[in-house]
């Protein structure tokens, strides 16, 4: 009779039951540390991230459990997927063995034993060990990872567990003269080491090593939620609780609320629980830092450092605030209804604290924890969030902190003041007289809504398109194309005001609110339904910010409209055009990453006969021009200039021209080209397309 393939489980181990109480103890530690962490993010403001559970679960399944997002990054991403898969296989094997040993289930036998428990587990174990070595080497070599002792301890412990596992297997094979050892090739290899050892020697080493292996594993379980391994729990949850809102949407602040005490985040507890959770879920994988244009250009900002610094501060401040909030809640219950609402700052200020605790809570969020220079270096380009495998939200935290700084502390780079004032007084960032806004239309015969109240589209040139001599040429080109294609459109003229995007993303919610409410009132009074914009920042404001204030419009970016007009054959002359040379297309952050519009600008360039060439960083990984998030209005003195760096990237493609689809990008690129002493023209896609009509 053919023997059923199997092995003796827990060979040579006598009192193995002790692992259960030890396991419970280890798990207890893990639970304890987890609760400690849980209390940290509990101090944050409430925010509902449980809507659309199916969509959330699906995302969690895809990006956390299947690691799709992780694997997008070749190299380390692949290594991570390998160790992750191996770990799951090893975990199943361990559970199976335990189930046979203590529940008597006959699992460790037959084909399942041979193919899975022996061969697959051996391969997984080997892959796991190789992955650990690769990780250790990477951390030793790549200094930009800023590895901590903890990183090496975790990796070293996991590697040791893996290697000791193989040694144990080898000892068992050698000690039992396993006939199926060929199915455990790595274990078999290790068994060779013990050829010639006596049975006693093998047994003694095996027993000692088995307990060591177990102790290490349980130690790691105990330490699990204290150390970085907690990401195994937190990252899936972070992905589940990711933002499902349209990209770039900021929390609504009701400026008309009489009871509004504070705005933005002045303390950690004025961030939401998810913001705080993010700081705990961040595993320092470095992808955000590598993607960040500010970091790449030597600015004092790293999205990773931001998360980590907030997280470190939360570990100090969190427990104190948690206690104070609980005391306040108890007192509040005692006092009953009608208690005066207090801000986070008031709560902490009034508390009776020890000197050490006082020193902790008196640290300011911006200033002591996050440097103002870092805060104001962000272009809100979103590259960090795009690459984050945990889908953490860096930019909203920055904007919330800016909002507090500007709105409550009036603390911001001094050069921003003129921009804020100009927006307030003249509805444009340059402070040019508001009555001169429609001057760009002179000689172009552009109808206003007053002339043509039945126009299908409102054309919204934005401040750049109306005031900036360079961008006025884009407006003129677009007007020309709209007329050629027979699009029915009209403009607001002098009644248009700055959309407020820069103000809002610089943290000036008040000025944003003023501008937005006036624009919404004007648009609604004119019955506007559909709007054409040529500025992705205007798009963001009109399409994604204004609905919070009751303004609902169908907004279309000119790239999308022009691509559509081309596809419909409504711009026939463009299609006849001969090749316009190599055109390097730059993706605006607020058009690409924020609105997921990548193909249309390229379709327009191709429609004009251009041969599209791509930069190394393009599409969703595009590198910011340096102007977003209000950076357009700020000095840039630290490090290299972002626009110059981006211009150099474009020049590396040897283009005949660079195509932009955002007025800020156009300005920044033009300046960058001059800095690089290059005379490659930079043109908006509308200009490139309208060029066909100038021939």
């Amino acid at each position: 009779m053919e023997e059923v393939p199997t092995r003796e489980v827990l060979w040579n181990v006598s009192v193995h039951w002790v692992i259960y109480p030890l396991f419970v103890l280890a798990l207890g530690c893990a639970v304890y540390f987890f609760v400690r962490r849980w209390r940290l993010w509990k101090i944050g403001l409430p925010e509902d991230r449980s809507d659309h559970p199916k969509e959330r679960l699906f995302g969690m399944f895809r990006d956390a459990l299947l690691q799709v997002k992780v694997a997008e990054r070749r190299g380390p991403g692949f290594v991570h997927v390998a160790m992750y898969t191996a770990m799951i296989i090893l975990l199943i094997a361990t559970v199976t063995v335990a189930a046979q040993a203590d529940l008597g289930l006959p699992l460790v036998q037959g084909d399942f034993y041979l193919y899975f428990l022996s061969l697959a587990v051996d391969i997984a174990g080997a892959a796991f060990c190789v992955a650990m070595v690769a990780c250790i080497v990477r951390r030793l070599v790549n200094k930009s990872l800023e590895s901590k002792p903890e990183d090496f301890i975790v990796l070293g412990a996991l590697l040791t567990i893996g290697v000791t596992g193989f040694v144990l297997e080898g000892l068992r094979i050698a000690g039992t003269d396993d006939p199926w050892s060929a199915w455990s090739p790595v274990g078999d290899l290790f068994a060779g080491l013990f050829a010639g050892w006596s049975a006693e020697q093998i047994s003694a080493l095996h027993l000692g090593l088995w307990y060591f292996h177990m102790a290490l594993a349980f130690g790691l379980i105990a330490w699990w939620t204290y150390c970085k391994l907690v990401h195994v729990l937190l990252v899936p949850r972070a992905v589940y609780s990711r933002s499902l809102a349209p990209k770039g949407e900021l929390p609504f602040i009701d400026m008309e609320d009489e009871g509004l005490l504070t705005m933005g985040a002045g303390t950690l507890e004025e961030l939401t629980w998810k913001d705080l959770f993010d700081t705990q879920a961040c595993i320092r994988c470095n992808r955000c830092q590598e993607a960040c244009p500010a970091f790449a250009c030597g600015k004092p900002l790293s999205p990773k450092a931001l998360m980590q610094d907030l997280g470190a501060e939360l570990e100090q401040r969190g427990p104190i605030v948690y206690r104070l909030q609980h005391e306040a809640a108890r007192n509040g219950e005692d006092a009953g209804e009608g208690a005066e609402p207090v801000t986070a700052a008031d709560l902490v200020a009034a508390a009776d604290l020890s000197e050490a605790e006082r020193a902790v809570v008196d640290r300011t969020l911006v200033g002591d924890v996050i440097s103002p220079d870092a805060l104001w270096s962000c272009t809100t380009c979103g590259a960090c969030m795009e690459v984050c495998p945990a889908m953490l939200e860096h930019v909203p935290k920055i904007v919330k902190m800016r909002t507090y700084q500007v709105s409550m502390e009036s603390a911001f780079p001094p050069e921003a003041q003129a921009t804020f004032r100009n927006m307030e007084n003249n509805g444009n960032p340059w402070g040019l007289g508001w009555q001169t806004r429609s001057k760009w239309t002179e000689g172009l015969d552009v109808p206003t809504l007053a002339d043509n109240p039945d126009a299908e589209y409102l054309y919204w040139p934005g401040c750049s398109g109306a005031f900036d001599t360079r961008n006025r040429k884009v407006s003129a080109a677009l007007v020309r194309l709209l007329k050629e294609a027979g699009v029915s459109f009209a403009i607001l003229g002098n009644d248009e005001k700055c959309c407020g995007d820069s103000a809002r993303r610089m943290g000036n919610e008040f000025v944003y609110f003023m501008l937005a409410s006036e624009n919404i009132a004007t648009l609604d009074a004119c019955g506007v339904k559909k709007i054409i914009v040529q500025c992705p920042h205007c798009y963001q404001a009109l399409a994604r910010d204004y609905p919070q204030l009751g303004g609902h419009y169908e907004v279309v970016h000119h790239s999308v409209l022009l691509a559509q007009l081309l596809a419909e054959g409504r711009l026939p002359k463009a299609a006849e055009r001969a090749a316009a040379g190599r055109i390097c297309v730059h993706d605006s952050c607020y058009l690409g990453r924020y609105q997921d519009v990548y193909d249309e600008p390229r379709a327009v360039v191709r429609g004009a006969g251009g041969n599209v060439v791509e930069m190394e960083r393009c599409g969703s990984h595009s590198f910011c021009c340096g102007a977003g998030g209000g950076r357009m209005w700020l000095e840039e003195d630290a490090g290299e200039r972002v626009n110059v760096a981006r211009a150099a990237q474009a020049l590396a493609t040897s283009p005949d021209a660079v195509a932009t689809s955002c007025p800020f990008c156009l300005t920044m690129f033009s300046d960058g080209m001059v800095s690089e002493d290059a005379d490659v023209p930079v043109r908006d896609i509308a200009e490139i397309l309208a060029g066909a009509y100038d021939d």
Partner: protein, 252 residues
């Protein structure tokens, strides 16, 4: 230290000015702001009270709409505001404005009276000088610095060929020039706080309703158009430009 600051509301300096049929400046749709020179004075006054204690009281001759300028000053840190209400204040000349302001300020017991040396719109450039004369107080004209020193103030004032430092006993009048202080940007917290403060509104009592000034005409100066290239070889173009600067633009 109790400081009284005279505040004026003006049309934003970048505004495109329009005139009505009678030559009066059309205010409809215009952005009205605190006068920049008043603002320098308010800022320095607030700074002085932050450094030395005391109060800043704003005084404004204007209509109800001018409360916005006072609110701005309150948001900057002024403690009180008085609106001397007169719906026809824009028609009043500097003689009348100074008289109304001086009458209001006289009983306030101010240590320091501040204001702009001129205003960004009508630029009459005399109200603070007249107020000083009416109150019989020493004047620091076109001050670019004002510090408390030895029971008085040490001011730096523009003179025709430089800067003059002088010591004034208190009370005194300081007419602010650009550079006296960089106005702060009030936070929303400050703006909200200013909304809750009460503005002491009193009817302005003009001593004499007759204006000392007659406006014969007002016309818009054609806006600079730009875009004119002076043709010719560099030497010719330069010579022609200098001639135009002297004879046409009259800026030399």
């Amino acid at each position: 230290m109790n400081i009284v600051v005279c505040v004026k509301q003006v049309i934003d300096t970048e505004a495109v000015i329009e005139l009505d049929g009678e030559g009066a400046v059309n205010l409809e749709g215009q952005t009205l702001v605190i006068d920049p020179y008043s603002e320098f004075a308010v800022e320095r006054a607030v700074q002085l009270t932050e450094e030395h204690g005391g109060t800043v009281t704003l005084v404004c001759l204007g209509d109800a709409g001018c409360a916005a300028a006072l609110r701005h000053g309150l948001a900057m840190g002024a403690s009180e505001a008085v609106l001397l209400e007169d719906d026809r204040w824009r028609e009043r000349d500097a003689v009348g404005a100074a008289a109304v302001l001086a009458d209001a300020i006289r009983p306030m017991g101010a240590d320091l009276v501040m204001g702009g040396w001129k205003s960004g719109d009508t630029a009459a450039a005399q109200v603070m000088g007249r107020v000083a004369a009416l109150l019989d107080l020493p004047l620091a004209s076109m001050a670019t610095s004002c510090e408390v020193a030895d029971g008085g103030i040490r001011v730096l004032c523009e003179v025709d060929d430089g800067v003059e430092a002088s010591d004034l006993p208190l009370p005194a009048v300081v007419a602010a020039q650009q550079g006296l202080a960089e106005p702060r940007y009030p936070s929303v917290r400050d703006v909200m706080g200013a909304r809750r403060k009460k503005i002491d509104t009193r009817p302005a009592v003009p001593a004499d309703d007759a204006s000392a000034v007659v406006v014969l005409s007002r016309e818009l100066k054609p806006a600079r158009t730009g875009g004119r290239i002076v043709e010719g070889a560099p030497a010719e173009a330069v010579a022609e430009t200098v001639r135009l600067l002297a004879e046409e633009a009259k800026v030399l």
